[in-house]
């Protein structure tokens, strides 16, 4: 019996899984790719499209780092197969800033309120809050209400106080528009 694996002569760089074709709109652009049915939407966005702003924390729906908008609603990209998004309209964190790099008001509010440190969780927070802002529902901007809104996103460094302030600031700005 071998105890040490030998270096394989040639590992294929492309998965041997059977694939299906999917087409969707991502941040306004139509993309078509061939994917394995087991490819998670997170991996599709990151590895097939190269949009690495969508982060992966837990792959079981708990941390919220992978939150994206699917047809306008916040959803966990780690709990969706890419094939299921065939025909869908997707928005990721890359849709926030404009072409020249100017941050969105929501991103600015996070920066100004010191709502992030390492930034790992931030794309998920932003996409979740974006969906709330655009939902047309009346938002409860009390501390309790905002904490409920962001309860599905975990941040391991900033603490939530500044994030709550950032949400409130961006919501006030959004309402004035």
């Amino acid at each position: 019996m071998r105890h040490k694996p030998a270096i394989a002569p040639n590992i294929p760089s492309v998965s041997a899984d059977p694939t299906v074709e999917v087409t969707m709109t991502v941040n306004g652009q139509t993309v078509t790719r061939h994917v394995s049915p087991r490819m998670l939407l997170t991996d599709f966005i990151r590895h097939e499209l190269g949009l690495t702003g969508t982060h992966v924390g837990c792959e079981h729906g708990v941390c919220g780092a992978c939150t994206v908008l699917i047809d306008g609603r916040a959803a966990r990209a780690c709990l969706t197969f890419a094939v299921q998004a065939d025909g869908a309209e997707l928005r990721t964190i890359e849709s926030e800033a404009s072409e020249d790099g100017t941050l969105s008001e929501l991103q600015k509010a996070f920066a100004e309120c010191h709502g992030l440190q390492c930034g790992y969780c931030t794309p998920g927070f932003i996409m979740n809050i974006r969906a709330h802002l655009e939902s047309g529902e009346k938002l409860d901007l009390s501390d309790e209400g905002i904490r409920d809104m962001i309860s599905g996103n975990l941040c391991r460094c900033t603490g939530y106080k500044n994030i709550v302030a950032a949400v409130r600031k961006s919501a006030q700005h959004f309402n004035r528009k």
């Binding site: 899984d17 299906v20 394995s36 049915p37 087991r38 998670l40 991996d43 792959e59 079981h60 729906g61 919220g64 939150t67 699917i70 609603r73 916040a74 959803a75 966990r76 780690c78 709990l79 969706t80 197969f81 094939v83 299921q84 979740n128 969906a131 709330h132 904490r147 409920d148 809104m149 309860s151 599905g152």
Partner: protein, 291 residues
């Protein structure tokens, strides 16, 4: 972690899904994927085939009539929660749905999927039991209605056969003039309940309880009716003493052993406290209904 290989089939019609389910050993239905995909990511389940029912138009509807709410198989928790007609017919649904995970998960997770998943701590199976609801199971050989009390067998185990698809669930409307309440305790917002209790209390004109219904989840291997507490209320005035007695009568309903989160004794205290809360809610809701 990443899910194992499977064949994917996006069913275009109910018949298509049923046929595929019938002829494919090891196939599972994919609804919202909010329980199934995490389980696959952990490799706790590895279905041969996933039959995705999300593109079947018949499943995307909610019907509200004077006697109940019929929820199609792909209606998301969040749609049900925000539906004004559903809320008017039975406010318990919205109260409980607000405790199911978080909005991004409720945006995709389906209520029928949750009923099928049958986590013993899940809110909606308990609401189905509390309201006296049922599910409609269909296979290539026919259709049957399964009442909630027969549907739930054990943790993540239901009376559904492997070739059956649950096409809809029916939640009866709240009885006219009845009081209702719901309360839950979980360590973190959106977690499954350590315990949750729901109540529906009907009284006659003189304030005597004619029908008390209480159910709980998180306390055993499936959602349960709190019959001893119900018996402590039926035929009496729902005053403080009766409610306290009912709360005490819930103790034996807790069958979950000590676990990594809490002890059995803790759950008993919790259940009694939650029962008192929901009964107080139910009594004040009934007063409002009469006023």
């Amino acid at each position: 972690m990443k899910p194992p290989l499977f064949d994917y089939c996006s069913a275009q019609s109910v018949q298509d899904a049923l046929q595929k389910l019938h002829e494919t050993p090891g196939a599972l239905i994919l609804a919202g994927g909010q329980s199934l995909i995490p389980a696959m990511n952990f490799r706790l389940v590895s279905p041969s085939t996933l039959i995705d029912i999300n593109r079947i138009p018949e499943f995307r509807k909610v019907e509200v009539t004077s006697d109940g709410i019929v929820v199609g198989a792909t209606i998301r928790h969040r749609d049900l929660e925000l539906d004004a007609a559903v809320h008017a017919a039975n406010p318990l649904l919205r109260l409980a749905l607000a405790h199911v995970a978080h909005v991004p998960i409720r945006n995709r997770g389906t209520t029928v999927g949750s009923l099928c998943h049958a986590d013993a701590a899940a809110e909606m199976p308990m609401i189905l039991l509390l309201t006296g609801g049922s599910v409609m199971a269909q296979s290539v050989s026919g259709t049957r209605t399964i009442p909630a009390e027969e549907f739930y067998k054990f943790h993540m185990t239901t009376a559904k056969a492997s070739d059956e698809l649950i096409v809809s669930a029916r939640f009866p409307a709240l009885p006219r003039g009845a009081g209702y309440g719901f309360a839950e305790f979980a360590r973190r917002r959106g977690d499954y309940a350590l315990a949750a209790v729901g109540a529906i209390v009907s009284c006659d004109d003189s304030g005597i309880v004619t029908d008390a219904r209480l159910a709980a989840c998180g306390i055993g291997s499936k959602p349960v009716r709190l019959t001893a507490a119900e018996n402590a209320l039926n035929g009496r005035r729902a005053d403080k003493a009766a409610m306290a007695e009912a709360a005490l009568a819930t103790a034996d309903a807790v069958t979950a052993p000590d676990d990594t989160q809490v002890t059995q004794a803790y759950r008993r205290h919790l259940l009694a406290g939650l029962t008192r809360q929901v009964l107080a809610q139910a009594v004040s809701a009934r007063k409002e209904a009469i006023a």
